[in-house]
């Protein structure tokens, strides 16, 4: 053991032994957390990527989802993810209402860029304060039958508190992709993203389509919120920490591409996991955002962006 001359507070140490199990575990951990990132980001991919609505309050809706899952889990013992699926229609309705206000007050008047952003910032802070007033400021978590269980297969760990959200997230993302590419409504949403005027000429009301798509994006926040409270304890201001992440995933994957969001999230997850394991966790954000910058430099529209 010796201290380096440059930083007297730190010690140098021998490099760790890199084994195949360590590498495989890093990949699996990265994919699992990437699945969670995908669920958190897919709503923003719809609202920001497809609809041009900079919903910076999306993490706040995720937190509302966490707290609803928490309260039902705490009182009745129901599984938080199941609860989130049941209450997602309420989130859908909430999304419809919020988009209506946003459209009438900002988008219709052409003031959506700056004032719309302020509107969503306002929602973010109001939601946070409301959660503080209703639930207090202590950390909350949900307990499930699988939270503390880890499957171990050939030296590879599969903690179920990450595996279950990952599996549901994959199903949700795949479902959304099928919905957007194989239904009339889904294709109309994609058309809104490309040319609203053309859509209007086809006899479709783009405002209605945007409202429904925005509502769908808010509905995904309910499920992502349940994942969050299964994975880690939450308190009302934790949503702010996800603002950068969700927009980074969205841009990395390609604006408005659901598959792109999934790939971006998985890439970010694996990059973070590898960096944490082999380089040092404090480098993880630098590597992730470095990856984002490199992607944008060589492919400005993101991995699957058009």
């Amino acid at each position: 053991m010796r201290q380096p001359a440059g930083d007297p507070r730190r010690f140098r140490f021998d490099p760790m032994e890199i084994t195949p199990a360590l590498i495989l575990n890093a990949v699996i951990a990265g994919l699992l957390i990437g699945g969670f990132y995908a669920a958190v980001s897919v709503g923003v991919s719809i609202s920001f990527g497809m609809l041009d609505v900079v919903n910076i309050a999306h993490p706040a809706f995720i937190l509302v989802g966490s707290y609803i899952a928490y309260i039902v889990n705490d009182r009745f013992g129901f599984d938080p993810i199941l609860v989130s699926l049941v209450v997602s229609p309420l989130f859908f309705a909430l999304g419809l209402g919020i988009y209506r206000v946003y459209y009438v007050c900002f988008e219709r008047r052409g003031q959506e860029s700056l004032r719309g952003l302020a509107f969503f910032f306002g929602i973010l802070f109001i939601t946070e304060v409301a959660l503080v007033l209703i639930f207090g400021v202590d950390y909350r978590t949900a307990s499930t039958a699988y939270t503390d269980t880890t499957l171990r297969l050939g030296g590879i760990d599969f903690p179920l508190r990450l595996v279950v959200p990952f599996a549901v997230s994959m199903a949700m993302v795949a479902g959304l992709q099928v919905f957007f590419t194989h239904t009339f409504f889904g294709r109309a949403v994609l058309a809104v993203a490309q040319d609203q005027l053309a859509l209007r000429l086809m006899g479709v009301d783009p405002v209605r389509i945007k409202g429904l798509a925005f509502a769908l994006s808010i509905a995904t926040a309910s499920v992502a919120g349940a994942f969050l409270i299964v994975i880690q304890p939450v308190q009302p201001s934790i949503g702010r920490e996800y603002i950068g992440l969700v927009f980074a995933v969205c841009v990395l994957g390609g604006m408005g591409s659901i598959w792109g969001t999934l790939i971006g999230a998985l890439v970010l997850g694996v990059a973070e996991s590898f960096t944490s394991t082999f380089v040092g966790p404090s480098w993880a954000p630098a590597v992730s955002f470095g990856l984002l910058l490199a992607t944008l430099a060589f492919r400005p529209s993101g991995i699957l962006g058009r």
Partner: protein, 422 residues
């Protein structure tokens, strides 16, 4: 005739009003002004749980003092603002308290991150500054009117971490290697600094020494990297969400080491105690109070019962073993100093606090030259026998072994960690 009557009546009414006002004013003049104490407190943001708990304790103190007639005959009034756990709000809050609200005294909010930004202003105004749970803040400022109520001792970073290493050195054979890990934040950096001092003192070999960003979601890659370096001891300095993440990851991976924990903030509070439940078994971590020691702090038990009544309604830590007694004690020190010096002269207050001994709910408190506790009293405990996630098991003796300091020791450390977890 009618006009004359009206004028006379008006004159009489105005006269009566004037006399009434004069008498009311005299009555007001007899009431001494309230003694205003100002502070910022984290009522929202990541440390709001602790901030609100501290506020409850301080309000209990204010009620107690006012019930006895106040301090020097003046009722105590609090003026406080939410610092949002955001250090950048702190200088503005204290400037407003001093210049606009004209408070008589100021004390700090909770934690290192919000105490440090208030220090330049306190020094500029030569104010006596009682602070609540800042770790090693005065090492950079060397301010002679700074006082701190957390019992970390005159070398806070060293005193804070000593118990973990002293307990580790009781293991047979003695540990040789250690992993150090903590969040990229003020407190973990300072705690790790203290840990490194002990590492050098004891000649341990460091096999891992890294920090992680505070918004990390999954801690398993970190714990796996620690496991790959195969340390005898793992010292963790973390805030509540990452403490939960580290403990979960250590259990999921089945971390094999001899002692795990040390400086994790969070397991002192009911929220994490109940969330993690049996996952905490085997973890060695710091505490400032244990129900096992209730006989040694008889006044504290009464206070905790009063605190717990209010905490449930406020949605904050329902146990209140960690921070609230010290928040109350901080105000007791200030109270006793004001009474003894007979006023609010900042020089006299600071001098008195330096040279006096204070009887508080957390015991006798003496301050060292740098404003820290003269003798450290951080307890290192090991969790064991926790079953389920109920809160009641934490209210009574049985799930903690006090390892350090020796004066409070209730048993030896159980190692290795994987056996102690069972």
């Amino acid at each position: 005739m009618l006009v004359k009557t009206v004028v006379t009546t008006l004159r009489r009414a105005l006269g009566a009003l004037f006399i009434g006002l004069a008498l009311t004013g005299a009555a007001f003049a007899q009431q001494p002004p309230t003694l205003k104490i100002g502070f910022g407190m984290s009522l929202t943001g990541p440390l709001a749980g602790n901030g609100k708990a501290a506020l409850i304790a301080m309000e209990i103190w204010r009620e107690d003092v006012n019930a006895k007639g106040g301090i020097l005959g003046r009722k105590v009034e609090f003026v406080y603002y939410d610092d949002q756990t955001n250090p950048s709000t702190v200088p503005g809050i204290y400037t407003k308290l001093l210049d606009v609200d004209k408070v008589d005294l100021v004390v700090s909010g909770y934690g290192t991150a919000v105490i440090a930004p208030a220090m330049p202003l306190m020094m500029q105004r030569n104010l006596t500054f009682m602070t609540l749970f800042g770790l090693n803040v005065n090492s950079k400022f060397n301010y002679d009117r700074y006082f701190q109520i957390m019992p970390a001792g005159p070398e806070p970073a060293v005193g804070w971490t000593r118990g973990f290493f002293d307990a580790a050195m009781t293991l047979n054979p003695k540990p040789k290697t250690i992993a150090l890990v903590g969040a990229d934040a003020e407190y973990p950096h300072l705690a790790l600094e203290g840990a490194r001092t002990h590492v050098q003192r004891l000649g341990l070999k460091v096999v891992y020494d890294k920090s992680y960003p505070p918004n990390t979601v999954d801690y398993s890659p970190i714990v796996r990297a620690i496991q790959a370096s195969n340390p005898d001891l793992v010292y963790v300095a973390s805030y509540p969400p990452d403490s939960a993440g580290m403990v979960r990851a250590a259990n999921e991976i089945g971390l094999k080491t001899r002692m795990f924990g040390g400086g994790m903030v969070g397991p002192q509070f009911a929220a994490l105690k109940t969330q993690l439940g049996p996952l905490l078994n085997g973890v060695v971590n710091y505490e400032l109070y244990a129900p096992e020691l209730s006989g040694k702090f008889p006044f504290l038990d009464k206070f905790i019962a009063r605190y717990q009544e209010r905490a449930a309604a406020a949605g904050v830590d329902p146990l209140g073993f960690y921070l609230p007694p010290y928040a109350y004690a901080m105000m007791q020190v200030l109270d006793q100093a004001i009474v003894a010096t007979g006023g609010l002269d900042q020089t006299k207050l600071a001098d008195y606090i330096h040279k006096s001994s204070f009887d508080t709910y957390v015991g006798k408190v003496n301050f060292a030259k740098n404003g820290e506790w003269a003798v450290p009293r951080v307890m290192m405990v090991q969790f064991h026998g926790i079953s389920g996630n109920g809160v009641d098991q934490w209210k009574k003796p049985g799930v903690l072994t006090v390892l350090e300091p020796n004066a409070y020791k209730t048993g030896p450390v159980v190692a290795p960690f994987q056996d102690a977890r069972k």
